[in-house]
Amino acid sequence: MSDSFATTTAASAQPDDQAGHGAPGHDAHGHDAHGHDAHGHDPHVAHHFESGGQQFDAAKLGMWAFLASEILMFSGLFCAYAVYRYNHPEVFKYAHHYLDSTLGGINTVVLITSSLTMAWGVRCAQLGQKRGLIWCLALTLLGGFGFMGIKGVEYRKKIKTDKWVGAANKYHPQHAVDDAAAATSAADTAANPATTATATEIAVENLEPSLIPTAAAGPSGLSSAGRSSPGEGHADDHGHAQDHGHGTAFSDLPQAEQERVHLFFQVYYMMTGLHGIHVLVGMGLIFWVLVRALRGAFSPAYFTPVDLVGLYWHLVDLIWIFLFPLLYLIH
């Protein structure tokens, strides 16, 4: 988002310049450094603001409103987590053992430290300490890289042991291994991925026949898979041999148990994945602020972008502080 915004701002500064107003540099994301010199007043105050202070307050309020929006977006995932955990407590209890809480803990420390350097950087910007600001931003960016790096290591480990979504993420009705269930499972598999094959298959005439078994499979699946105790499941012969042979504890488990662990991991990947995207966006923003800081764009009179990016980074940090115990520290 930040990238597209930068493009828009660069393009959209032109008409304002033609009309003879200062190019506004008033919002969280966009402020291009060219074209200010020609104007008589403070180049950082857009034409529709009375003062730099008013503009700063507006930008900050806008950012807080946006952060509120972000929190509501994540709240949907937390809600989904709560529902999942309530429905499948034993899966969550079991599956979190496959998360490395040491790496997660290190990541938490890394992210909190980067929040500290970010806050320190904002302070430096307020005081006009350019060197300090640059160092703090660089360290914060480094923290972001560190976090994503460790996260990458964690993801890699899980993908290697088949704890991934996608093809592995299928439901197998292990308690009803009769022909009907096998047929259902096949229909389920065929209908679920959004492939072109499905599109043509279902296209016009075959709509009803191919969908009805799928719909019928759903609720019964919930009751059998969701309510059984871990010991009940037995290895079925659906032919998912790829799970065997890694020699890890995970693949020694009965097939049914392995399938159910995916229930946890799909929540895990959605939550950490969306958070990871936010970290990446935040890193992009910090990089942009860092470049501008190197060019000397900030002063005690104008440091709005540093402040706003800082707020965003703290939010990203805060969300992780909730994610870490919810995912890694289940007891």
Partner: protein
């Protein structure tokens, strides 16, 4: 003067002083403008195009329903399939691309900063970005439409699927299994949501930070209070839709099963998530409409608005209560009886602030000097239609009757009375009201009144009978029906055609006005909100000098001037 950016070059140099339409020239000056007024006009073009598209789908689906059997296409199964796509696209386009952005993005963008006495919204670039995000989201819907045509007409297999047949609600599990274009549609709605969020952020910051000296909260015109409530909903509810659609997207592309019972998920959770946004979204649609009506009723009654604070507070109350009633969409989805009772109670409580508004509007008109100009006709239409829509909402909010009426044409009629009857009428009234301000041209008043009458008659003919059909058991979203409902559907379809004619008349009138309307005076209606203090159309930065802020509903200082055909401010 013209709406369409592409033709601005042809505008003659008739206007003596420069205004926002003539300040800069060329297509590019529109595409990269930061002026809230121009962005409002660009939204107008885009949103009206979406409306025309959604309306075309409506006409097609109503035509299909004119007979119980297949009508437009001979082959029954293809006809049903076509119908499913039509009602889905009609709903999705109308909701996400027309009703939600209509009043905030067009009229709000245009008048909010002027009413406030500001030069622009707080973040003009963000404003332009919102517009382009909207346009991008629209492209996704255009894509599924084109893909749908390619698939059905030419038999070309389009990746991701063409058309959309889930209903605008995208209910799982059907939306995760159908072969139609759910993935692009979901991406489109997700992107459109961000446009809405950013507009909300912009408006909130503008109203907090850009009020000039003298413009206290309680001197703000009521439209601004309504837009404030709307913005709060946009900022806090839309992200929940975003995450819902993201999860649906992940379910289709990554086999993540948050809503799939086969993967341990829960399809009811989708409904909770969806309505947590989509019920407040109903108030995104209706609150700005109520704000527009508050302006129009007062001005055309030549009387101070009655109960200003009550109307202002009721907007905020509706915005907040709107977050607590989503469960009334799910009375038959297997919620606990306790949840049903609580949601039903909260639903009834929304009727209190809504009724406060209606009573205040009527009290404003009481003993007023009522001028039946076109905006006022639409406002009166709004009050009638909103009352019908709102009161039938109580039938649906009551648990016992809802069981009977759930998923019938009764609810179709109800929400069309609220969304279309109310919001569309307020939008049209608002467009007529601010049209002279936006383009500096008057429209043909007589023709506009006829169009208003035709729209009103067509609307009621289309939808009132659906209450009857619904209460007799006609289920919604069915392409075919028992013969006993034939008359109902035929009346409804004829009404839809009349309604379509009325709307085309409106459009013709607007285009005619742009081509050769009389030049508009600065204040044709005698309003006292700040946009009537500047010239028509407004200059580039809205005001030559900072206007004096007074009571927005005090009309004592304005007197009608025969010569200009507008109101002029008395001196002294």
């Amino acid at each position: 003067m013209t709406t369409i950016p592409a033709t601005t070059r042809d505008v003659p140099q008739a206007q003596a002083s420069s205004n926002y339409l003539t300040a800069q020239r060329g297509v590019l000056s529109w595409l990269i403008t930061l002026d809230h007024k121009r962005i409002g006009v660009m939204y107008m073009v885009a949103v009206l195009a979406s409306f025309a598209l959604g309306g075309a789908f409506a006409i097609l689906l109503r035509t299909e329903l004119i007979s119980p059997g297949p009508t437009l296409i001979g082959d029954a199964s293809r006809a049903w399939d076509f119908y499913n796509h039509m009602f889905t696209l009609h709903g999705a386009v109308m909701v996400f691309m027309f009703i939600i952005p209509a009043i905030p993005a067009i009229l709000g963008n245009f008048v909010l900063p002027i009413m406030l006495g500001a030069k622009d919204v707080a973040f003009p670039r963000l404003n332009l970005l919102s517009f382009y995000i909207y346009a991008l989201g629209g492209l996704f819907f255009a894509w599924i439409l084109i893909a749908g045509v390619l698939e059905t007409a030419f038999g070309i297999d389009v990746p991701g699927g063409g058309g959309l047949d889930t209903g605008w609600t995208f209910y799982t599990p059907y939306s995760t299994t159908t072969g139609s274009g759910v993935v692009p549609a979901v991406m489109g709605a997700f992107i459109l949501g961000f446009s809405s969020i950013l507009t909300g952020v912009n408006f909130i910051a503008s109203m907090h930070m850009l009020r000039p000296p003298g413009m206290s909260w309680f001197r703000m015109p009521l439209l601004l209070w309504a837009l404030y409530g709307t913005s709060v909903i946009q900022v806090l509810a839309t992200p929940v839709l975003a995450i819902t659609l993201l999860l649906l997207f992940a379910e289709r592309t990554l086999s993540i099963g948050i809503f799939d019972p086969g993967l341990g998920g829960d399809p009811i959770l989708f409904q909770h998530f969806f309505w947590f946004y989509s019920h407040p979204a109903v108030y995104i649609m209706i609150l700005p409409a109520m704000g527009v009506i508050s302006e129009i009723i007062s001005v055309f009654s030549r009387k101070h608005i009655f109960g200003y604070r009550f109307i202002a507070y009721s907007s905020i109350a509706i915005a907040l209560l709107g977050f607590l009633v989503w469960g009334h969409h799910m009375f038959t989805s297997g919620q606990s009886a306790m949840a049903n009772a609580v949601f039903s109670l909260l639903t009834f409580s929304v009727s209190i602030p809504s009724a406060i508004k209606v009573f205040n509007w009527i009290s404003t008109m009481y003993k007023g000097d009522i001028h039946l100009n076109t905006p006022m006709l639409y406002a009166l239409g709004f009050i009638v239609l909103f009352s019908i829509g709102g009161l039938t909402g109580l039938f649906l909010g009551a648990l016992a009757t809802d069981i009977h009426l759930h998923d019938t044409y009764f609810i179709v009629a109800h929400f069309h009375y609220v969304m279309m009857g109310s919001t569309l009428f307020a939008f049209l009234g608002g467009m007529y009201y601010w049209w002279p301000k936006m383009f500096g041209r008057m429209y043909n008043e007589v023709f506009a009144r006829w169009a208003a009458l035709v729209t009103f008659v067509g609307f009621n003919l289309t939808f009132f009978i659906q209450f009857v059909a619904g209460s007799q058991g006609m289920p919604r979203r069915y392409a075919s029906y028992p013969d006993q409902f034939t008359v109902h559907h035929q009346v409804s379809t004829v009404g839809a055609f009349i309604l379509g004619i009325g709307l085309v008349m409106v459009l013709i009138n607007w285009i005619q006005s742009l081509r050769n309307g009389k030049p508009a005076p600065g204040n044709p209606w005698g309003g006292n909100t700040l946009e009537w203090h500047c010239t028509s159309p407004p200059p580039h930065e809205n005001f030559a000098r900072q206007p004096q802020v007074g009571d927005p509903y005090d009309y004592g200082d304005w007197q009608y001037d025969e010569k200009t055909g507008g109101y002029v401010k008395l001196m002294g």
